[in-house]
Structure formats: C-alpha cells, structure tokens
Symmetry: C2
Subunit: 356 residues, 2 copies
C-alpha cells in the first residue's frame, strides 16, 4: 500500500491510497483554481441545545452532472476532474463545498438567543473506486481493505485538527437519499462538536448498568438470533429490535474498539466480505438499487472513548418497490418514528438474500 499526498490547484489536499507501491502520483491539477469558500457558521439552537451549520455556499454545488462530466472520475484529455490522474485505486480529497473547514470567515452575532461560532473542521470525499458505474457492494475484498485503510488514516489525521471533536465516515447512496454525484463515493465529516446522536448514545451507555451497552446489545441480538442477517468470526450484522427504518442493519465488531483505527488487520479483512454481502442482499430484495445511508459510529476524539463501541448503522428508506419511507410530521417534527416493516420480517428477507 502506498499513500501519496498531493494538492489540487486551489490548494485542497488530495490523498491517494494505492495498492501498488510504485504508483506515480506526480501529475498536477491543471485546472484554473476557483476561490475556496469560507467555513460555515455554527449557530446554537437554544430550543434543542444543538449546533446547526449554515453553509450558504453549498447551494451552488455540483448537482447530478451527466456521467461524462463526473468530477469524481479520473481525468482524461478534455475532461479534467477533481482527480488529476488517469486512474486511481482509492482517493480522498477535501470537499470543494465543505460544511466545515479551517478556512475561516467573519462571524457576526445573529441574535435570537443563538450563539455563533465558526464551523471549523474538515469535509472530505472518498472515491471508493475509479469505476463510475460500480458500487460499494461490488468492491473486491482488497478494495474494501484499501477503503478501510483510508477511513482509518483520515480518522487519525482529522482527529488532530484543533477544534475537531468527532470524525464521521459515511456513504449516502441513491438519488432517493439525495446524492448529487452518482460515482461510488463516501464522505468524511470532521465535526467541531460531538454530534447529537453520538451524544445521545453515549449518555445511554453511561446510564446503562451491567456491561458495556453496545456489547450487551450485540450479545442480546446474537442470543435472540432472529434478527441476525450475517455473521463471521469478527463481525455480526443484525436488524435492531427497535429499527426506525423499513430496512436497517447494524454491523458490530465482536470486540469493543473506539474507532476504525483500533481494528486489527484480521478484523479489517473480515469486514469486507460480510458487509458487501449485506449490500448485495439489499439490492436483491426488490431487484432495484437500494438507496441507503451507511454510517460509521466512532468514538469522539476526546469524550466517552471508554464507553463508545465502533459500529456501522445502515438504513434504507425504501419500504417496497414503488414506495419510500418519508420522515414526515411524526419523525421530522417530533422525533417519533413509526416503522411499517417488522424488524424480524426485514431480517428474514435480507437473510434469505445473503444466503443466496
């Protein structure tokens, strides 16, 4: 594995993760640089005690370009992309339209009982493969290993940025989920705060009596068995008993680790076959590409690292071939979820596809 750091014309960092140790990454970005937008401003919502990022510059971001104008494909003569190379294995670069960055602007008081501070942090794009029409589900084990290497590398490095409190690696897939680029890619957000959901899970873990909350959930799901969809020596994938979405799968390592950095090579190697099997099973459910959000829950940089337990939470909003689950009034406004698919039934459907 070779790691090469380059700079795009506008100064953004780009990091290649290559399987071949002799990969040549000296090509330069020959595009005209555009000015880089300032970091968003964070506003404190006194009603919920949460931060919201205001990123007006993102309104102009690239929106579903045709395949031959994809900015995530390798560059070719006549079409220079974000990746100044004729090919790549896995590549990570700073998002051109970041929600968080270290390029700070001027932040004025907003009134309204809110507080304002700069959205310091960093947002990166992870290209999973150079193949525009591929998907994570189709990656080889070696390729997933390289992506995991990139995730762990970025988690460690982004955690060092002053002000960053949490690193979040995730993939949005499918136009139904709102992706603006079809090329197989994920994103990494380095947040300047511990996110509400992580804060909530860690608070639950702190109140839990017995063993570690996450370990106890994993053990209980493995004991119940009825919602387990796939398992190997190092990982178990299950639909949680109180799933919020019609098709939701959580993937836990069998050992409590705070983040991707802490996984052993054996654990990393065992993840790919299990996870891509689950993804292919989801696509098999209705014979259509399943839209999903896949989210790595890692420990914050500084807080709760003893309580946290690395795991992946994936959900799809597709509930039937022509029907989506929408987060409407009850979910969006009150946080009260109603799931139309029983978790045991969803697990049975997914498991039967994994077995195929």
């Amino acid at each position: 594995m070779k790691r090469s750091v380059a700079r795009l014309a506008d100064g953004r960092e780009l990091i290649y993760f290559d399987r071949r140790d002799d990969a040549d990454r000296s090509m330069l970005d020959e595009r005209e640089p555009s000015p880089r937008p300032p970091a968003s401003e964070l506003r404190y919502d006194p009603l919920t005690e949460e931060w919201v990022a205001m990123a007006g510059h993102r309104q102009g971001r690239t929106f579903l370009p045709p395949a031959d104008e994809c900015p995530l494909c390798p560059s070719r003569p006549g079409h220079l992309t974000e990746i100044p190379a004729p090919d790549y294995d896995v590549v990570v670069f700073e998002n051109r339209f970041p929600s968080f960055s270290t390029n700070l602007g001027i932040y004025q008081d907003a009134g309204g009982l809110s507080e304002v501070r700069p959205g310091v942090g960093r947002c990166e794009v992870v290209c999973f493969t150079a193949e525009h029409s591929s998907s994570f589900s189709q990656l080889s084990e070696a390729q997933v290993g390289l992506v995991m290497e990139a995730w762990a590398d970025r988690t460690a490095e982004l955690s060092e940025i002053p002000g960053v409190e949490q690193v979040f690696c995730f993939e949005n897939r499918g136009s139904e989920i709102g992706i603006t680029l079809a090329h197989p890619h994920g994103q990494i957000y380095a947040y300047p705060y511990v996110t509400p959901r992580t804060r909530q899970q860690l608070a639950a873990a702190a109140r839990h009596t017995g063993g570690n909350l996450f370990a106890d959930i994993l053990a209980a799901e493995r004991a119940a068995g009825v919602r387990v969809v796939a398992a190997n020596e190092h990982w178990t994938a299950f639909v949680p008993a109180a799933a919020r979405y019609p098709f939701e799968v959580h993937v836990y390592p069998h050992r409590q680790v705070p983040d991707l950095v802490a996984l052993t090579p054996e654990e990393r190697a065992a993840f790919g076959p299990l996870y891509t099997g689950v993804l292919r099973a989801l696509d098999g459910l209705f014979g259509v590409v399943m839209p999903y959000v896949s989210a790595w829950h890692q420990a914050p940089v500084r807080e709760g690292r003893d309580l946290a337990y690395l795991h992946l939470e994936l959900f799809s909003i597709r509930r039937a071939p022509g029907k989506l689950k929408y987060l409407a009034g009850s979910e969006s406004a009150m946080g009260a979820f109603v799931n139309d698919v029983l978790p045991e039934e969803a697990a049975g459907m997914i498991r039967s596809q994994v077995d195929h």
Copy 2:
C-alpha cells in the same frame, strides 16, 4: 358551530364541525366494514432511550389514489368515501391505518435488549375542507377558525384517553414530503409517550435561566427583527436563528399558553390571516407548491405544562426550484444539520412575498 359525532361502518368515530347549527349529520356509512388492525407495538431502543412504533399493517395503506377515488372527499352516488355525507365543513375521523390505537393486540418480548409494549393511543385525520383541490393556504378565516376549533376539541378529548401523554396536530403537505393523499388534510397523533423532540425542548426550557425559554426566544427574535416574516397583535412568525431547513418558520402566540385549548377567541381569530399569509408567501417563493411539514408543539398531557409554550414549527425541504434538502448521512445518522440557506436570507425572501 355544531359538533356532531357519528360512527363509520367499522366502528371508527367521525366528528363533524359545522358552521351551521342546523347541519344534518344523520347519514350512515353504507360501506362493508373492514376489520380494524390492532395497535402497533412500541419497542424501546436502548441506544437512544426512545420508543419506536412498529405498525406493519400500515404497509397496505391507500397510496396516492386518483382524484376521483379520493377517500377524503364527500361521498357521492357510486363513490362512498370515509365521509358519509354529500358535503362537510371540517371533519375529523379515526385513521383507518393508525400508528396508535386502543384496539390492542398481543405483544411478545422481542429480545435484543428492547422492551415491548402496546402502542396505545389514537390517530385521527382532519379534513380541512371538502374541496379536493384547495389547500390550507386558501382557507377563509372562518374555515381556519373551524379547523382550530377541531384541533382544540381533539386535543382536549384525546388527552383524556388513558395512557395518552401528548397530542400532536400536524399537516404534511406535498408528495415530496411523502403524503399519500392529496386532499387538504392534517393528522392528529395521540402518543403514549412524550415525544423525543418535546422532551428535548422541555429539558432545554428547564435548564434555561431567566424567563421562560420560549418567551425569551420570541422576545429576542422580535428584538432582532431581521428574521421576522409576519406579525400581528397576537402572533409573530419568524425564521429561527438556527433554522435546520432551507425555509423554516416558527409561529408563536404572544402569550405563554400550554396548548390550543388555552387560546382565547381573539388569539384564535388572529392566527388564520397571519398563518395563511405565510403559507401563500411560501408558495410564491418559487412559483411552485411548497412541500412542508407544519407541526403544533403543545404541552404534554401531564408533564412540563408550566414550561411548555404552544407554538407552530413549519419547515419546507425545498431549497430551490428543482432541488430538495435531503436528510442524508449527517442529519439522519448523526442528527447534525447543515442548512444551505441563511435564515436571514430565507426570512427576507418570505417577508417580501408576505408584503405582496
């Protein structure tokens, strides 16, 4: 105003709110009754300490029928609907596919560190008008008054159901939000728990020092002024300083009351003109029907009634003519919102339409 209670063929309750005191509501529902589904089961999510309702029967619910098969229009010969009458002003009835009900089933332990209990409660549909192609924004002041009468009536009555802890009146509008029926209507959920968002707001209110949190926010927004979009003697509508959605408007009465029941006739009368003006302004923004969720935040039945402050929170997911705001990885998985439209800009856009 006349209030008439009837029963549908399958036993569900239906309540007419008529402007005319001589309205005759003796017509019977002549449809064959279908069996009523049992109440959902609630499962406790130990990771978030929240309840999730499992309502498998809702998968079969009516999905975007053509206008001439609308179940919310008045009945006519050859097309019997949910409303067994040739016309109505405002009508409320029990949802045929309820997330919560008092028709309990059998609930077994689910394992996985979850707890299970019956989803006791009630879900109602509120038809705002008999006019299929109308919308809330087009209702007359008298009609909005009747809807408010219905909301208050239902809030008071549903609060009396044993086990109900919160009554939520809301409207989902637009196919982008996931509505399954186009006829102008809202819903009422009587929940068997205090919802996560309400719990969160009340916890923030309990921690707030100074005056009442909500009253202080209202005063601060009125003082800042820049995000106020409309106001009259009894109500102020503003975009909150830390808005999560591209177009979000909160509407507060000027007096702290726990719920719709507690509004004076003058306050009720003043709401309609202000609110429908905001709705029309939203539709005017891009010249397209704006999808939205409009949510009345009322005090829970038993808890926090001294801290709570009735208000309405409305948001749209449309961020530009051809673009929607999706709740993807950061929002859905981590609860971390990124808003692409500055609240002050959104307020200016809405306010300029209200002035028209």
